[in-house]
């Protein structure tokens, strides 16, 4: 009986490892990159619990430079995530710039790391 259960334990571990190797792969990272050249300059602030981007429409494949207005960004709104383009940054007084290149068109979310502050922008 002892060996029978040992057999099941080993088989169970083998199944977990095989299934894990197959199923657990990193989520695809976006191709968002660092802005260079003539970037689209965007102002970012928080109003009424929402991110406000001005302007909120970007052009595809043109680098974007978001300048955060720290004085209007309370609490966790400083921890900014744009998951569609792999952007994740905590802005501060000394570093309030986020740069990336939108490589696909559509409407995308910008959120704080806890999803409490949210906003949208469009890439055309």
């Amino acid at each position: 009986m002892k060996y029978k259960n040992l057999f099941f334990i080993l088989l169970t571990l083998a199944i977990i490892v095989i299934a894990g190797v197959f199923l657990i792969r990193g989520e695809g990272t976006s191709s968002g990159g660092t802005a260079t050249g003539n970037a689209q300059v965007v102002k970012l602030s928080v109003e009424g619990g929402r991110y406000v981007l001005s302007p909120s429409e970007f052009r595809k494949d043109v680098p974007v430079r978001i300048e955060a207005d720290i004085s209007k960004m309370p609490g966790c709104s400083k921890s900014i995530v744009i998951s569609a383009f792999g952007v994740r940054k905590i802005v501060s007084e000394s570093d309030n710039v986020i740069e990336f290149t939108p490589t696909k068109t559509g409407t995308f979310n910008i959120a704080c790391s806890m999803n409490m502050y949210r906003g949208v922008f469009t890439v055309v």
Partner: protein
């Protein structure tokens, strides 16, 4: 030392001797269903493995641990009122939190909570009622709370190491369920309880199949909150 005896009992011919085999059967059933679904339909979905594979893997692992405890409890059928409350609460909370978290991570807080609450209340009441209305009530409340908390936790961690959090949540839940199995063993041994019910392997296969299919459908094809569309 009763804990050492419990570990030893995992090799005996009684109720506890079936527990290791239960995990094995449940995992085989879940991954078999996932493999069939993958080759028939899921492999044609863009980025299926990177997007959903991780969560389906942990869903299968979670269900194997939940069904293990369910089978253990059903074998003895009747417990003292106090133990029943603990059983209902633990099963309800964990079987609500884990599916709620995993579905919440892909479909948003509302649908994660709906799935988590449904599973949590179902398993909580089902297992808690072994010991009267208090156990059933406790199971219902814990399932309700666990489901909501699972969906909410996933949403709040979405931009902050969600996958690492899923691993930690799963490991803590596994330890809690292992603790529940030990409690059931100790209660049964201290009160001289004997097996009153024996579930076949088909019971585990059926539930693993059902839970995996429902979870897969929700995660891959199910309705989503606006943020996840």
């Amino acid at each position: 030392m009763s804990f050492k005896e419990f570990v030893k009992s995992l090799n005996n011919d009684k109720v506890e001797g079936e527990l290791v085999k239960t995990i094995f059967v449940s995992l085989v059933a879940s991954f078999f269903v996932l493999a069939i679904l993958y080759f028939l339909r899921l492999r044609f979905i863009a980025d299926f493995i990177p997007k959903y594979g991780f969560f389906l893997f942990f869903a299968a692992l979670s269900y194997s641990l939940i069904l293990l405890s369910v089978r253990h409890i059903r074998a003895y059928k009747e417990f003292a009122c106090m133990s029943g409350m603990m059983i209902g609460m633990t099963i309800g909370m964990i079987s609500g939190f884990l599916p709620g978290f995993l579905v919440g991570a892909t479909n948003g807080m509302f649908w994660g909570s709906v799935v988590g609450m449904s599973f949590g209340i179902l398993f909580g009441v089902w297992n808690g009622k072994c010991c009267g209305v208090m156990g059933a009530m406790e199971g219902m409340m814990a399932g309700f709370m666990g489901g909501l908390m699972g969906g909410m936790t996933a949403l709040m961690m979405i931009n902050d190491n969600l996958r690492a959090a899923a691993v930690i949540v799963f490991m803590v839940s596994a330890v809690i369920l292992f603790g529940l199995n030990y409690m059931v063993y100790k209660e049964a041994r201290d009160n001289g309880m004997e097996r009153k019910h024996k579930d076949s392997e088909f019971f585990i296969i059926f539930w693993s199949f059902l839970l995996t299919v429902i979870t897969t459908w929700f995660i891959v094809f199910g309705p989503r909150s606006v943020l996840f569309q």
